[in-house]
Symmetry: C2
Subunit: 335 residues, 2 copies
DNA sequence: CTGAAAGCGCTTACAG
DNA sequence: CTGAAAGCGCTTACAG
């Protein structure tokens, strides 16, 4: 089967006996075109198997319907859920995602950003990799492409942003454990690192201080944010002389790994030791035991981010919006 | 800050004192251009902050560097890992993914395919949604866009395909349990459904037959492929009069949910009852207990799929390749 | 080795 | 309400 040239608006024009302009307008369902004419054009288009050529349209219009979606870690269900949210509203609004995964690598991220730009993306949704320098983000602004940052803020740049309040979330998580009677509460996460890490830890310390409990440095266990980190964290804590009775984890992935590590050692979270997570990813409800955690609705964050971007596309000048979700405590059985 | 027009090859030409043609050729590092001239052009491009306009190039060349990547279920880490594999090789080969998630919805899938086509994608990598009708796939062929199918085959269409051998995999999984001394082995998965489901179940029954064990209909538990399914499956099995001592699960997600459900009931997989999964997703090594499973390397499948597609782009006429990975048994502690 | 010219498929003022 | 014309930024024969 020979592949023949796709029909163009010129072909439709000829077929329907009108001009190219009329076809173009009709295709955009402009109300400049008389209904009968429009119908004739649309019929012709269908008849010929017309396929709209977006590259050509974008070239002419400058604005495309491509949105660059750049995500740092698909290995964490949190980001996958966020991505699903982003995609949902993009799709229903007639946009499509130019997607790339950086695996927390700033070099990859730069390459990907450049590529997204070359493709004339109308906007960018970016979950920046750890260690994204401030100027990498300033650059996007210089390009004149509207962007919304998600989850991690870079510097004090006045961007549209969607994220959750790590300080408040961790404060609540810790306060919940205190309210449940715990006095010896450990933290598994990163001591330094990005703003997100810092804020979450701050929430923990704030709650500890407020309850006038001692802040024990050795109860703050600095590990990588990963299942391995959760495992290591638990090992460390269980070896402590003066053993904590509860653990606050940086996120659900760490927490679920902690749960498993406890099981492996014959301990049950929620009974022998309390564990609370952060994010409320899908798996949290299905872990053993089901995880008590701070819900920040990643999917909704994704949807919000898309909506923010779409709105920005129409009001370039508007002041930036920050959407900071307040985490909600979801008590299940681990703590 | 006013946004100014991006410079074009015309601007570069003027700046460097050559013609547009020369600039275009130099930018493609054609060896038609004298090195010194090329250098001058490249300097000018950098100086002016030139951004290659791919929409324009695609319009002219017909062929773009966009690859449609359509994935059915990002909720399952298997597909996420596959996606990461796809992306890795796409990126390093200078392509970028036009990505969409169908959530197993054929209507969404059709919409997305149409969109990918309008964008002039050079090729398509498709994990088809359940219930994808054969003609949806034939259509892609009619469009003349090279495609490779992943994981699920649709009909007997002669496509490039990457997947794993479900029958052999499940046969091995079951045989492993038999070799370990089990005689009463249940199966949690779908009884009918796609080809993949059918083949996996066939592998199970083949092993049962070969060992001359009775094939008990009530030990084949028909549940949805999801964590909930795994949970339900275990509940059903534990209520059985004549209780199986081992369970083969459709995939790791089901298996891990099964593990958790067992724990919840005070049972430990690998001790009280054996459980084996299928896929070897990242979580399998971190579950409690670590999951014995059939490894099919999703990431590698993704890389393979991209490579196949990239190769196909250069040899349109070549006969289709099927890459069927043979699952490898990974014995951990659950069975 | 380099330049002038045509054209990819569309949209958008501008006339009428 | 519809058409003729210009032009978006590039690539690719074709001359020279």
């Amino acid at each position: 089967m020979k592949k023949m040239r796709n029909p163009t608006i010129t072909d439709i024009a000829e077929f329907a006996g009108v001009s190219k302009s009329t076809v173009s307008l009709a295709l955009q369902s402009s109300d400049l075109i008389r209904p009968e004419t429009a119908e004739r054009v649309l019929d012709a288009a269908k008849e010929l198997g017309y396929v709209y050529n977006r590259a050509a349209a974008a070239l002419r219009k400058v604005r495309s319907n491509l949105i660059g979606v750049i995500v740092n870690d698909l290995t964490n269900p949190f980001f996958v859920e966020l991505l699903i949210g982003v995609e949902n509203v993009l799709l229903e609004s007639g946009y499509i995602a130019l997607m790339a995964h950086t695996a927390e690598d700033v070099t990859v991220q730069n390459r990907v950003l450049a590529s997204v730009r070359e493709h004339g993306a109308a906007g960018i949704i970016l979950c920046p990799a750890f260690d994204t320098p401030r100027d990498a983000v300033e650059q996007i602004r210089a390009w004149g492409i509207p962007a919304v940052l998600v989850v991690r803020q870079i510097g004090e740049l006045d961007y549209d942003f969607v994220g959750s309040d790590g300080a408040v979330g961790m404060y609540k998580a810790t306060a919940h454990l205190i309210a449940t009677g715990h006095r010896k509460i450990a933290y598994i996460g990163r001591k330094a690192g990005g703003l997100v890490s810092v804020q979450r830890l701050e929430g923990y310390t704030a709650a500890i201080h407020e309850a006038a409990l001692p802040l024990r440095e050795d109860w703050i266990v600095d590990v990588p944010i990963s299942p391995e980190g959760g495992q290591m964290g638990v090992s460390t804590i269980l070896q402590l002389e003066d053993r904590p009775t509860a653990i606050v984890c940086y996120n659900d992935r760490v927490a679920i790994a902690a749960l498993n590590e406890l099981s492996r050692r014959g301990l049950l979270a929620g009974k022998d030791i309390a564990v609370v997570g952060f994010d409320d990813i899908g798996d949290a409800a299905h872990s053993h035991p089901p995880l008590t955690t701070m819900a920040v609705d990643p999917r909704q964050q994704g949807e919000l981010a898309s909506r923010l971007l779409l709105r920005r596309l129409n009001r370039r000048g508007a002041p930036p919006t920050k959407h900071v979700i307040e985490p909600k405590l979801v008590v299940r059985q681990s703590g």
